[in-house]
Symmetry: C2
Subunit: 278 residues, 2 copies
């Protein structure tokens, strides 16, 4: 993993395309506000749906294939990756030829990074992004987009010091930690824990059927039926995270919290929300 | 209910005693950090445990009776109230004679206020508080302490406008909205909704096995194994709560959030946390 990070440092992550980062359980039939935005950005090119995150990918592709075709995408390509060696194969690389979008389904974010990190397939995906394509991911596919990603941590309880597992992510978006299924799984505690570790990171918690559409890594807009919670630790005056026993509950004072919903925008550079203009 | 509020306005709630407000599921055997604090404050007098909140109060009293006796309380009195008329009876009033503490068990907060609001029993409980006694409540018994109390609202999802039911509470503590089982039931969304309705109210979300001990209505200290989330809407720059459709997710910008744990204190007048000194 160290090598992957070094590579990213040498060649900073590209900022020409769009990222659509989804909190899981987006509508795959009916109105499909979020997938419709992915489809719109894909335009005339093919979209590659990769089920690398899943141990049991069967059925996932079919759902997305049906949804994207209904939304007017002309070509939907399946890229199932079971082993890391497959990510160097010509056969897999050819699947990405001409693609204007890549979609990461849900599962386990460590499967995404351990199978794809620093591989020819991942380089090709970064190229697609660099050339203005859209990279979308839902659930585990959302978490994996960060430099440092949340892997595991308890839900539905307040954060306890030491109760969080993080790992290097794909690095498509900088200076943020993404969490998903956010309100539904009561994950405020663990996101606060992640931000307490280093307030340089802005915490972004995305609800189910909700997404952020990130432009140039500089600004995002909220889509979908739920909310996006933004946890800004810049003004934090105290936390006990480096002081206390591992089973101790976290104290953290003076966190700034924004809740955004459909149509709201957020400036990632200035760390400020914009008024809802939907 | 209107009459109850008027009465409270005429005679502002007393501020001489202590309130111990518990997020539910406090330990009732073993270490019992929270019940031990209740017992300490009760001192030599009897404590009255009222199960008015519960439709099926059987067994509740026995748990608290055993716990408080183990913690050195000399007399533990059961006050079961099934109907509103009972709250005027001499028999029930006599149960409170000489009591230095009253404990409200969990159940339904509307049972507490509809059965006890503006009754002789409730006046007697206010007298106990006024004379320096301790009033403690867990779960529904915690919510009921506010002027305006949270009754119902969805957990484990972001707040939707219109998705919250509030009612006049007992008015033992002013200018705050209490929520309980907080992290465990993912209730940040509904507490933010309550604060958005009127940022004059400070939102206080209390985890299970966690309590705040309130002195003179001016300051509280955190006890127990979880966290207390304080949501301060004073600096809010925007919310859509009065603008949008009822099924719309809430937007709210610039909320201040503090997470406090065991030993931390909070100044309710200045709305500031104190450093953990445990």
């Amino acid at each position: 993993m160290a090598k992957q990070i070094e590579d990213q440092e040498e060649a900073p992550a590209p900022r020409q395309g769009a990222l659509i980062i989804i909190g899981g359980h987006e509508q795959r039939e009916g109105r499909m506000t979020i997938l419709n935005e992915v489809a719109r950005r894909v335009g005339d090119g093919p979209i590659v749906v990769t089920t690398v995150a899943s141990h049991q990918p069967e059925g996932y592709f079919e759902q997305y294939d049906r949804a994207f075709r209904e939304l007017g995408v002309k070509e939907v390509v399946e890229m199932d990756i079971r082993t890391r060696t497959e990510t160097s194969s010509e056969e897999k690389l050819r699947l990405l030829d001409g693609a204007t979008g890549v979609f990461f389904t849900g599962g386990d974010q460590l499967r995404i990074t351990s199978q794809m990190g620093d591989t020819p397939v991942m380089s090709r995906i970064l190229d697609i992004y660099r050339k203005g394509g859209v990279i979308a991911g839902t659930s585990a596919g959302a978490s994996a987009m960060c430099e440092t990603m949340l892997v595991k941590g308890t839900s539905r309880e307040s954060y306890r010091i030491g109760d969080l597992y993080m790992a290097p992510g794909l690095g498509l978006i900088q200076d943020v930690i993404i969490d998903q299924h956010f309100a539904e799984r009561g994950r405020m505690g663990r996101l606060l824990g992640a931000v307490a570790q280093n307030p340089r990171m802005l915490g972004i918690g995305i609800d189910e059927d909700t997404a952020i559409s990130v432009e140039n890594g500089e600004e995002f807009r909220v889509l979908g039926s739920g909310a996006v919670s933004v946890v800004d630790g810049e003004g934090v005056t105290y936390s006990n995270i480096a002081e206390e026993r591992e089973d101790r509950a976290l104290s953290i004072y003076d966190v700034k919290l924004h809740i955004l919903s459909h149509g709201d925008s957020f400036d990632l550079l200035r760390r400020r929300p914009h008024l809802n203009d939907s």
